[in-house]
C-alpha cells in the first residue's frame, strides 16, 4: 500500500485555504438550510393540520413529491433544469459584501425544500404526541386554538422534536457533499480537485471523512446539551454529561473521607 503520510498530516492539520473555505461553506450551507427548513417545515406541518382542504392537500402533495424523489435529482432540476428550460436562473449575488454564487443559492433552496418535507413530518408527529388533554385544558382556560398552539402544544412538542431534528441536521451536513454535482465548491468538491491534481485520492478523502466526522461529532455534543437544558426546563432530573461526570469522579473526595467529615 502506498500511503503518503506527510501529505496526509499536512492536509489534515494545515489544509489549504481552498479546503478550509469549502469546509466553512459546508457548515454555512447546512446551518442556513436547516433553519429555513424548520421554518418552511413548520408552515407545511400547520398546513397539513389545517381546517381547509386545499392547504391539507397542498401539504400532502408537497411532502409526497419531495420525499419520493432523490435530493440529487431535485438539485439538478432546481439549478440546471430550470435554467436550461429558461424558467429561472440562479445568478451570483452580492449580499453583505460577499459574492454568493448562484449555485450556492440554488443549493440552499434545494436542501431547504428537501429537508422541510422531513422536518414537517417530524413536527407533525411531535404535535400529535402531545396529550389531547393539553389542548382541552388550554381551551377550558379560554385559549383560542392558535394561542394553545403557541403556548401549550408547540413548547411541549419541541422537546420530542429535538432528537429527530438533530439527526436530520446530522444527515444534512453529510448530504452537502452531493452539492459538488451542481458545482458548489464545498469540502467534497475541493477535495476532488485536490485529488485530481495530486493523485493522492486515498489520503485526501480520508482527511475529508475525518472533517465530516468532526462536524457530526461536535454537533452530537451540542445536541445532547440542548436536550439536557430542555429536560431541565420541564423538571426532569438532569444526568450530567459524560465529561462532567468523569471530571467530578476524578476530583471528588473519596466516599469514606466525605462521610467522615460530614
Amino acid at each position: 500500500m502506498k500511503f503518503d503520510w506527510s501529505f496526509f498530516w499536512q492536509s489534515l492539520f494545515t489544509p489549504s485555504p481552498a479546503f478550509l473555505a469549502g469546509f466553512a461553506l459546508t457548515i454555512v450551507i447546512s446551518i442556513i438550510a436547516m433553519v429555513l427548513a424548520i421554518l418552511v417545515g413548520l408552515l407545511v406541518a400547520l398546513a397539513a393540520r389545517s381546517r381547509w382542504l386545499v392547504l391539507r392537500a397542498g401539504a400532502g402533495i408537497y411532502i409526497w413529491v419531495v420525499r419520493g424523489t432523490p435530493v440529487l435529482v431535485q438539485l439538478v432540476i432546481i439549478y440546471l433544469g430550470l435554467a436550461a428550460a429558461g424558467v429561472f436562473r440562479f445568478e451570483d449575488q452580492y449580499w453583505f459584501g460577499f459574492l454568493i454564487r448562484g449555485a450556492v443559492i440554488a443549493a440552499i433552496v434545494g436542501l431547504t425544500i428537501h429537508e422541510s418535507a422531513y422536518i414537517s413530518e417530524i413536527i407533525r408527529s411531535g404535535l400529535e404526541a402531545v396529550d389531547r388533554g393539553q389542548s382541552e385544558a388550554a381551551a377550558a382556560l379560554s385559549m383560542t386554538p392558535a394561542q394553545a398552539m403557541r403556548w401549550i402544544i408547540l413548547p411541549q412538542a419541541l422537546r420530542t422534536m429535538v432528537p429527530p431534528f438533530g439527526n436530520e441536521f446530522n444527515s444534512l451536513m453529510k448530504t452537502t457533499s452531493i452539492l459538488s454535482i451542481i458545482g458548489v465548491s464545498e469540502m467534497f468538491l475541493v477535495a476532488q480537485s485536490i485529488s485530481s491534481v495530486t493523485f493522492k485520492t486515498f489520503e485526501i478523502f480520508i482527511v475529508v471523512a475525518l472533517y465530516y466526522l468532526a462536524l457530526t461529532t461536535v454537533w452530537t455534543v451540542i445536541q445532547a446539551s440542548i436536550e439536557r437544558s430542555l429536560n431541565r426546563r420541564i423538571g426532569i432530573p438532569v444526568r450530567s454529561s459524560m465529561g462532567a461526570r468523569l471530571w467530578s469522579t476524578l476530583t471528588s473526595v473519596p466516599f469514606r473521607e466525605r462521610k467522615a467529615t460530614a
Binding site: A137, A140, L141, Q147, R233, G235
Partner: protein
C-alpha cells in the same frame, strides 16, 4: 383558609341576581345513533353546589362538558350568566360560535379535569399565572402575586416552583384548581376530580373543594364520592342512560330515592 373566590360573589354583568347562573334546557346529544344525552334540563343558582351522580356511562361527564362547550350538543340550549353557550341563533337556525368567541365565553368558567391536565413544561405557579398574564393580559406582577396566593391557599406554598411531574396526584389536582380559580370564574365545573387519585390523596382535594363551596362559589361536580356529595351538595342530580332520573336535596335523594334505579345505583356504591 380565606375566601378563595373573592370575585364570584359580586359578579358584575349579571342580568339579575335571582336568575340561575346556569340554565340547561332540553339538551340532547346523539353519537352514532345513540342518545348520549337525552332531554336534560336543570338550573344552577348562584352560589349553589350541584353534584351529578350516576352509574358510569350515564352521561354525567358529557353533560358537564357541554356546559363549557368542550362537547357540542345537538338539541336544546345552555345559558351561563345569561349567555347562550356554544351557539348563536340566526334566521337560518343555530350557528356554532367561532373559536375566538368560544374562548371569550369560557373566561367565566373554570374546569377541573379528572387527569388534571397541568402544563408539564411550566412550574406549578406558572401554570396558575400563565393564563392571566398571556391570555387575559393582566398585570404581570399582580397576576404572579395572586398565583402565589392561590397556590398558598390550596396548601402548596412550598411546592410552588416544582414541576407537575414532581408533584403527587393530589397536589397536581390542587394546582389545577388554583389554575382554574386564577381566571376569577363565576362557575367551576369539576369532572371526577378525585377519580384518578390514590385513596390517601382524595381527602386533600375534597378539602379544597369544600372550602371553595363554603365561600359560595357556584360549582357543578361530577363525582363518585357519595359522602362528599352528601356533605357539600345543595342539590344532587342523578343520571342514567343519558337522562336525568332524579333531582333533589342530598338528604332526599340519598335516604329516600323516588326512582328505583337511583335506589339500586346507591345500593351499589354504598
Amino acid at each position: 383558609m380565606t375566601n378563595l373566590n373573592e370575585h364570584s360573589a359580586s359578579s358584575e354583568a349579571a342580568p339579575s341576581s335571582t336568575d340561575p347562573l346556569v340554565r340547561v334546557s332540553h339538551v340532547s346529544r346523539s353519537l352514532g345513533g345513540q342518545k348520549i344525552l337525552d332531554d336534560c334540563s336543570f338550573d344552577v343558582r348562584r352560589g349553589e353546589v350541584v353534584v351529578l351522580v350516576g352509574p358510569s356511562g350515564a352521561g354525567k361527564t358529557t353533560l358537564l362538558r357541554t356546559i363549557n362547550h368542550l362537547e357540542s350538543h345537538d338539541e336544546g340550549e345552555i345559558y351561563v350568566a345569561g349567555d347562550r353557550v356554544g351557539y348563536r341563533q340566526t334566521s337560518r337556525g343555530r350557528v356554532e360560535l367561532s373559536a375566538r368567541e368560544l374562548a371569550r365565553q369560557r373566561r367565566h368558567t373554570g374546569f377541573v379535569f379528572q387527569h388534571f391536565n397541568l402544563f408539564p413544561h411550566m412550574t406549578a405557579v406558572q401554570n396558575v399565572w400563565h393564563t392571566p398574564v398571556h391570555i387575559l393580559r393582566e398585570n404581570k406582577v399582580e397576576a404572579k402575586d395572586r398565583a402565589r396566593a392561590l397556590i398558598d391557599r390550596v396548601g402548596l406554598g412550598p411546592k410552588a416552583d416544582a414541576h407537575p411531574r414532581n408533584l403527587s396526584g393530589g397536589q397536581q389536582q390542587r394546582v389545577a384548581i388554583a389554575r382554574a380559580l386564577a381566571m376569577r370564574p363565576k362557575l367551576m365545573l369539576f369532572d371526577e376530580p378525585t377519580s384518578a387519585l390514590d385513596p390517601e390523596m382524595v381527602g386533600e382535594v375534597l378539602a379544597v373543594m369544600k372550602d371553595l363551596a363554603s365561600s359560595h362559589m357556584t360549582m357543578v361536580i361530577v363525582t363518585h364520592e357519595m359522602g362528599f356529595a352528601r356533605e357539600v351538595a345543595d342539590r344532587v342530580i342523578v343520571m342514567d342512560q343519558g337522562r336525568i332520573i332524579e333531582e333533589g336535596s342530598p338528604d332526599a335523594v340519598f335516604t329516600a330515592p323516588r326512582n328505583e334505579r337511583t335506589a339500586s345505583f346507591l345500593a351499589q356504591v354504598r
